[in-house]
Amino acid sequence: MGLSFLSTPPPGWEEGFLFDVYRGLIRGNGWVSLLEGLGITMQIALGAVVIGVALGFALSLMRISKSKILKGVAAVYLSVIRGTPVVLQLFIWWFVVFAATGTTRLWVAIIAFGINSAAYVCEIFRGGIMSVDKGQTEAGRSLGLSGIKTMMFVVLPQALKNALPSLGNEFIMLIKETSVVGFIALVDLMRAANLIMSGTFEPVVPLFSAGILYWIVITILTQLLTLLERRLRRSDNR
C-alpha cells in the first residue's frame, strides 16, 4: 500500500514546503511509517496500562495492608521505580534482564512501562481508597461484613470512581512517555519521525506530523475522559 507510485512530485510540488511534504510523507511512504509507529506507540501504552492497573492495584492493597512485609515490599518498589528514570529502567530490562531470553522489543517495552506505570497507579488507587470516608468501612464492618467484603462491596466501588480521572491522566502521560522506546530500536511514532528526518535531512514535516498525531490521539482521549467524568458526576446528584 502507499502512494509510492508517486515517484516524482506531483505538479506544483517540486519545491518549497510542498516538496518537503512530498519527500517526507509520500516518497518512501513516510506517512505509512508514521502510522505504523503510532500503532506501536499505542500497543505499548495499552499493554503497559493493563499491566500498570493490575499491578498498581495489587501494590496499593499491599501499601494499605497491615502486614509489615507487604508494606515494605511495596515501599521498596515505589522507591526504586519512582527514583530512577524510565529510560534507564527500559535499558535494564532490554540489555540486562531480558538480554538473553529472546523476548521481543515490543514486549520488553510493554513490561518496562507497565512496571513503571504500576508505581504511579498504585498511588492513584491508594489515594482513591483513602478518599473514602472511614465511616463507610465502619458501617460495613458493623453490619457483620468481613474486612475483605467491606473492601470489595463498599470501599472499592467508591474508590475506583474517585480514581478514574487520575487513571485516565496516567494513561495520557504513558502515551507520551513511550516516545523514548527508540532507544532500544523500537520504531514507535517518535522514532519513525526521527528516521524520516535522517533520511531527508528535513525536520519540520516529520516532527510536526508526529506532533499532530500525538496531539490528535491525546485530545480524543482527553475528551472521552471529560465525558466520563461528567457522567460520573451526574450520578452524584441524581
Binding site: G140, R141, L143, G144, F153, V154, D236
Partner: protein
C-alpha cells in the same frame, strides 16, 4: 446480655475510658448521657469492637469478644449500629443499602432480603424511596434508612451513636419516632444521645458518663429529678431542655 469488666481505652497515651463495669440486660433501653469528651461514644464503639479496648473484658452472651481469635463478624451480626453521620453507602440505592449485608453475609438469599428490606422501609415510612440514592434523601430520611439497614440483619440489640446530632432540628422527631417504635417492640437498645426528653421517655436506665467513667446511673426519674453527683447536676443545668 452484655457484661463489661474493667474496660479501659487509651488514645495516644490519653486515657479515654478509666475502667468501666457494666451489665446490660436483654430488653433494656440504656441511654448514655454526659458532656462531650466524656467517653460515651468510645464506650459504645467498644461494645462491637469498632474501637479496640486497651484493657478489660466484654462478654456478649457469655462470649468474651476481647479474646484472641474470636469471630467478631459473628458477634456483630447480633448488634446493629447507627452512626451520627448515617454512613449510608452512596453508590447503592436505598434498597441496595439494606440488602447488601444480609446477602453478602449469607444470612438471606436475594429475594428474601429484598422482601425484608421493603417491609422495613415501609415501617420507617420510606418504601417509596427504595430506588433512590442516599444523596436524594434528607438527613432524617437517611438516618431512618440507616436504622432500617441495621434492622435488616435482624439484630438482637441496637447501638445508637448520637443518631440525631447531625440532623436539622425539624428532622430529629422523625428519627426519634422510629427509635421509640423499636423500644416499644422490646428491642435491646444502647443509645448515646443529647436528646434528654427521649432519654427520659424511652430509657429504662440512664448512665451519666464523665471523664471516662460512669459517674451516676439509675432510672430516668432518679437521674433527672434527683441527681446526686455534682457533675450531673451541673450537666443538667447547663443544658436546656
Amino acid at each position: 446480655m452484655i457484661i463489661v469488666e474493667n474496660l479501659t481505652k487509651d488514645f495516644n497515651k490519653q486515657t479515654i475510658l478509666k475502667g468501666i463495669n457494666e451489665q446490660i440486660e436483654d430488653g433494656e433501653r440504656l441511654v448514655i448521657i454526659g458532656p462531650s469528651g466524656s467517653g460515651k461514644s468510645t464506650f459504645l464503639r467498644c461494645l462491637n469492637l469498632l474501637e479496640k479496648p486497651t484493657g478489660g473484658k466484654i462478654f456478649v452472651d457469655d462470649v468474651d469478644i476481647t479474646a484472641k481469635g474470636v469471630d467478631i463478624n459473628a458477634v456483630r451480626l447480633k448488634m446493629g449500629m447507627v452512626f451520627q453521620h448515617f454512613n449510608l453507602f452512596p453508590h447503592k440505592t436505598v434498597l441496595g443499602n439494606l440488602t447488601l449485608a444480609p446477602v453478602q453475609t449469607g444470612l438471606m438469599k436475594k429475594p428474601e432480603a429484598t422482601e425484608v428490606a421493603m417491609e422495613l422501609l415501609k415501617r420507617v415510612g420510606l418504601a417509596d424511596k427504595a430506588k433512590s440514592y442516599p444523596v436524594q434523601l434528607s438527613g432524617g430520611q437517611k438516618q431512618r434508612v440507616a436504622i432500617a439497614r441495621s434492622l435488616a440483619m435482624r439484630p438482637r440489640m441496637m447501638l445508637f451513636d448520637e443518631p440525631t446530632s447531625a440532623l436539622d432540628p425539624e428532622m430529629v422527631g422523625e428519627v426519634l419516632d422510629v427509635m421509640r417504635d423499636l423500644a416499644t417492640e422490646g428491642m435491646t437498645m444502647v443509645v448515646v444521645t443529647h436528646e434528654m426528653h427521649f432519654a427520659r421517655d424511652v430509657g429504662s436506665r440512664i448512665l451519666f458518663m464523665c471523664d471516662g467513667a460512669i459517674a451516676e446511673q439509675g432510672t430516668p426519674d432518679q437521674v433527672f429529678t434527683n441527681p446526686k453527683c455534682e457533675r450531673l447536676q451541673q450537666f443538667l443545668t447547663s443544658i436546656s431542655f
